[in-house]
């Protein structure tokens, strides 16, 4: 890049084109909201949904038509804007996840009257910008700013229902925990800066890799910084023991927001986590690193605790919250395998999880709007009240449980395969046992929907067209990724290699 020129080069411009488009969309949404009559408020959400689909098409179009981001670019070439972001396949795939999530979430939000406001959709989109930059960010400062952009939007979204006490409480709780985690992470990041005098994670990684770059007497300090950064990242991906906010926030937040937090936000957290650790910014990515042992312990505890606690939930949103903790555990297996295949498998897993969990929460939105609560009992006899909703939920649950022919099975298969491949067969075994525990509570919901009867069986649950489009898209995604996983996995695997610029 040329420091004299004030205008960015074309690749630099293209690298943030999706984010620029999102900003334009936010402005459009806010302006449109002003000129609409109150009765036409629904159209704001439609604009947000269609706008994000258009941006999705732009993003994918850049890749298909112009090979942008160019996968064969070297590391240095792919770093843009003074090394602030890296435009690579990883960024692309995560952007696709976020845009799919925000589009579908906007569609399912249309059925919740209290959310029909311009600010709501603008915040969803601004969080998406944060996620996008989290996935692209390759500089600690950029990462922190992106994380905060996303988080602050999400805090407000979680507490968006101001006349619902649970929603406000959830928002405050999420905010307090989040601010605390951010502060700790920022302290960790500043320690790393203090030790290395660098902020770009790839520069830090190459420094750390040199022997003697970190004097032995401050090794402990470096480790402390690592622990603090793990705490911050762990919060974003809701890994145990940084998960305490998850059930409360998921339960209190409006269900579409929960769908968004549990998929896009989690995926963004993983993008950052995998990028930082796989690059080796906190120590070489091999099985001798201290952070590796730490992450493995977190992986095991996250899967196990999430699954076991999920069994005892009687609120569907809390159950899905613990389930999402457990799912984060499976995804972490892909990271700790420390191979391009493993990271690719983790990305595939997140991709399928976006479709799966959005479908599950989409059904929850519609059912709880009709029944007025999130109790599991609302799902009794759902197959009679709303056969297609029950079918969508069935696919989502089978996918979460990892039963073929859904995407969840293939996702788990790739993850476990990567683990066995890396010699971590014992970790795969723990994962498999956990998948079995998980099956129990997913199956319980299937049981409620299909095998139990309820007194309100005659009351049909109305499904709006927007919601049926959203659910149909998600279910098609689940089935497509389950049957024809080849191309998508090839794509994420190729991207997985970009996580490891220094090995191989």
């Amino acid at each position: 890049m040329n420091p004299q020129s004030l205008l960015p080069s074309v690749p630099e411009f293209l690298a943030i084109l999706p984010e620029i488009s999102l900003v334009i969309l936010i402005v459009a949404v806010l302006a449109y909201d002003r000129i609409l009559k109150p009765a036409e408020r629904r159209r704001v959400g439609l604009l947000a949904a269609w706008g994000s689909i258009v941006i999705l098409l732009i993003t994918v179009g850049l890749w298909v038509l112009f090979r942008e981001p160019e996968p064969n670019r070297s590391l240095v070439e792919s770093l843009m804007w003074g090394g602030m972001i890296r435009n690579d396949l990883i960024t692309l795939i995560f952007r696709v996840m976020f845009l799919v999530a925000v589009a579908i979430v906007s569609l399912i939000s249309l059925d919740v009257p209290a959310l029909q406001r311009g600010e709501y959709f603008a915040l969803l989109l601004s969080a998406t910008i944060g996620f996008s930059l989290m996935a692209a960010g390759s500089d600690m400062i950029m990462l922190f700013l992106a994380i905060e952009t996303a988080s602050i939007s999400l805090y407000i979204l979680t507490g968006f229902l101001t006349d619902d006490r649970r929603s406000t409480e959830a928002g405050i709780k999420y905010f307090v925990y989040g601010a605390f985690a951010s502060a700790i992470m920022l302290y960790g990041l500043s320690l790393v800066y203090g030790i290395t005098a660098q902020t770009n994670i790839y520069v830090i990684a190459s420094l750390v890799a040199q022997s003697g770059a970190i004097p032995p007497e401050i090794n402990g300090l470096f480790l402390l910084a690592t622990v603090m950064i793990v705490a911050g990242f762990g919060f974003k991906i809701s890994a145990v023991p940084f998960h305490f906010w998850t059930p409360d926030a998921y339960e209190g937040a409006p269900a579409p927001v929960t769908a968004f937090v549990s998929t896009a936000s989690k995926a963004a957290g993983f993008a950052v986590t995998i990028r930082v650790f796989a690059a080796g910014a906190l120590g070489a990515p091999n099985f001798d690193s201290e952070w590796w042992a730490m992450l493995v312990a977190i992986t095991i505890v996250t899967m196990t605790l999430g699954n076991i606690l999920a069994i005892f939930q009687s609120n569907i949103k809390r159950m899905l919250a613990y389930s999402s903790i457990a799912q984060a555990g499976y995804t972490l297996i892909g990271l700790v395998a420390l191979t391009p295949d493993g990271s690719g498998a983790a990305m595939f897993y997140l991709l399928m999880y976006v479709f799966t969990n959005v479908a599950a929460f989409g059904v929850v939105v519609l059912v709880s709007r009709e029944t007025g609560s999130d109790d599991m009992q609302d799902f009794y006899g759902l197959s009679r009240r709303a056969p297609y909703l029950a079918l969508a939920m069935l696919f989502a649950l089978l996918s979460l449980g990892g039963i073929p022919p859904t995407a969840g099975f293939i996702g788990k298969f790739f993850i476990f395969k990567a683990a066995v491949d890396a010699g971590l067969w014992w970790l795969a075994l723990i994962g498999v046992l956990n998948a079995f525990i998980g099956l129990y509570y997913y199956l319980s919901v299937v049981k409620y929907m299909y095998l139990y009867r309820s007194d309100d069986e005659e009351e049909r649950i109305p499904v709006s067209r927007a919601a049926s489009v959203a659910l149909a898209l998600s279910v098609l995604g689940i089935i497509y990724l389950g049957i024809a996983a080849g191309p998508a996995f090839e794509w994420t695997r190729q991207a997985g290699a970009a996580f490891f610029p220094f090995s191989g």
């Binding site: 089978l398 039963i403 073929p404 022919p405 099975f409 298969f413 790739f414 476990f416 395969k417 066995v420 491949d421 067969w425 795969a428 075994l429 498999v432 046992l433 998948a435 079995f436 099956l439 129990y440 199956l443 299937v446 049981k447 299909y450 095998l451 139990y452 996983a485 080849g486 996995f489 090839e490 695997r493």
Partner: protein, 499 residues
């Protein structure tokens, strides 16, 4: 051809689902489409039989394509002597079970027949898949429709039974998945023939891999002590569900042992053969003894399955020609006889809404045709010479007698197993006596009408094969001769090379 046959039931599913937009949805039409689809599938399987060359021991009618390129996962379907009879059994039993549900299903008719057809496609896939990944997908997939069949249309404790069925099977399957992953990685392929050829790559771990597969299959069979899901599932399932469970799903377990455990881990198979044979014999005797204690006819038939499947397992782990051939044929026999018994129980349950033996007695006077047919099928289940059960059990007993894998005194196994045949005669005849003989003193039973033409046709279809196999089994053995002989040779040569 195989692909077309396997996925043909899905065409029926699509037709049934498409009825609604055309406003032609009626239960009657759905039943016709479902039954028609299963009949056509049966005819397709006969076409497959016609194309099948029994002199060729290898895989035939191969359909092969790359599926997930990166991991070298293939779509790979083929048939050989181990599976051809299983395929025919699946299409036959599915056809009879679908036709047999014509009257028994009153609510959610559409979903019921959709699940039946999905199940048929899944089962055919299990028997034809030659790629472990593909096999696993079909294997797991059969769980879902069966879960709903038991859970929605089952008896009083259906919810409990369906969950137990699902979780038990799943527990075993997941360990199998790990074993599959391990082998797929060591050889960079999931195709079974390639894995068999390259088995030295994972020979060191084969005892563990054997167990990974064996537990999954043993739960399905079920081999003692993994059988406890079976009585619940069988008893609570609707009639057609029980017929398919007994007729086909259990055979997926025994088939798995033959298709995967024996050729992939021959040394481990020999190592574990005595243990599994002992468990099989415990199953034979335990199943028989528990059958005595049952007062519910359906539960009795369910426990008798544990006993019968013990014979099949004993035959497989005799690891010789006779044993394996007997095991395959006995699998078919059990499917026919027990399937038919479940159907008969279903017929009488529809009429009387009870299965307690004490509620019956003297049925022969009220329903002579039904009773006579039941007697023949009961006798076939007992292993009376001239009917199918005898051929299978006799071959298995011969096989175990001459087995080298079972140690220096194989006749001990044979002796214990034979006692199972005697016990079976006792509990089945006792059941028959209590239900059909004696005075017709219960007024509700006096009003019973005999079977109608439709039911008679289904029972007779079972009977044709029961008698045919009993009198002229050689044609059936000929179908599997070459493949079994090749399998036994390959085990033999691997074992000779053992240190």
């Amino acid at each position: 051809m195989l692909t077309f046959m396997t996925f043909f039931p899905l065409i029926g599913v699509a037709l049934i689902l498409l009825l609604k937009p055309f406003n032609r949805e009626s239960d009657e039409l759905i039943k016709r489409i479902a039954t028609g689809t299963s009949i056509v599938t049966f005819i397709l399987s006969l076409v497959v039989l016609g194309m099948y060359n029994r002199a060729d021991p290898g895989l035939q009618l191969v359909g092969r394509a790359v599926w997930i390129d990166v991991l070298n996962i293939q779509y790979y379907m083929a048939v050989d002597g181990l599976s051809i009879l299983m395929v025919l059994l699946t299409t036959l039993i599915s056809m009879l079970a679908t036709a047999g549900s014509w009257t028994g299903i009153e609510h959610q008719v559409k979903q019921y027949f959709v699940f039946m057809l999905l199940l048929e496609a899944g089962m055919l896939g299990v028997f034809l898949a030659q790629d472990l990944f593909l096999f696993y997908i079909f294997w797991e997939f059969t769980l879902v429709p069966m879960y709903f069949l038991i859970g929605i249309w089952g008896g009083a404790r259906r919810v409990y039974a369906s969950i137990k069925f699902f979780l038990y099977t799943m527990a075993g399957s997941l360990l199998m998945l790990l074993a599959i992953l391990y082998m797929g990685l060591s050889n960079d392929t999931f195709a079974v023939p390639e894995l068999v050829a390259g088995r030295s790559a994972f020979a060191a771990a084969q005892n563990w891999l054997f167990l990974g597969f064996a537990i999954a299959f043993a739960i399905k069979v079920p081999l003692f002590p993994f059988h406890s899901w079976l009585p619940d599932a069988h008893t609570e399932a609707p009639t057609a569900g029980s017929i398919i469970l007994a007729g086909v799903l259990l055979k997926m377990g025994t088939y798995g042992f033959m298709r995967f455990n024996l050729p992939l881990f021959p040394e481990a198979s020999v190592t574990f053969a005595p243990t599994i044979a002992v468990l099989a014999i415990i199953g034979i005797i335990y199943g028989a003894i528990v059958s005595f204690a049952q007062t519910d006819v359906k539960r009795l038939v369910a426990y008798s399955s544990v006993s019968h499947l013990g014979f099949v397992m004993l035959g497989i782990f005799s690891l010789n020609n006779l044993g394996l051939q007997g095991a395959i044929l006995q699998g078919v026999n059990h499917g026919l006889s027990t399937g038919a018994l479940f159907y008969l129980v279903g017929v009488i349950y529809e009429k009387r809404h009870t299965r307690e033996m004490s509620d019956f007695g003297g049925i022969w006077r009220a329903m002579p045709i039904f009773s006579a047919l039941t007697l023949i099928i009961t006798l076939s289940s007992m292993g009376l010479p001239g009917l199918n059960g005898f051929v299978g059990e006799f071959t298995i007993l011969m096989g175990s007698m001459g087995s080298e894998a079972l140690g220096p005194y194989p006749w001990i196994y044979t002796a214990f197993a034979t006692s199972g045949v005697i016990l079976a005669a006792i509990y089945l005849l006792w059941m028959f006596q209590r239900v059909f003989m004696g005075p017709l003193d219960n007024p509700e039973n006096q009003a019973l009408r005999d079977v109608n033409w439709g039911q008679l046709a289904i029972i007779l279809s079972f009977l044709v094969f029961i008698v045919w196999i009993g009198i002229a089994p050689s044609g059936y053995f000929a179908l599997m001769d070459e493949t079994v002989a090749a399998l036994v040779r390959s085990i033999g040569s691997a074992v000779v090379a053992m240190p």
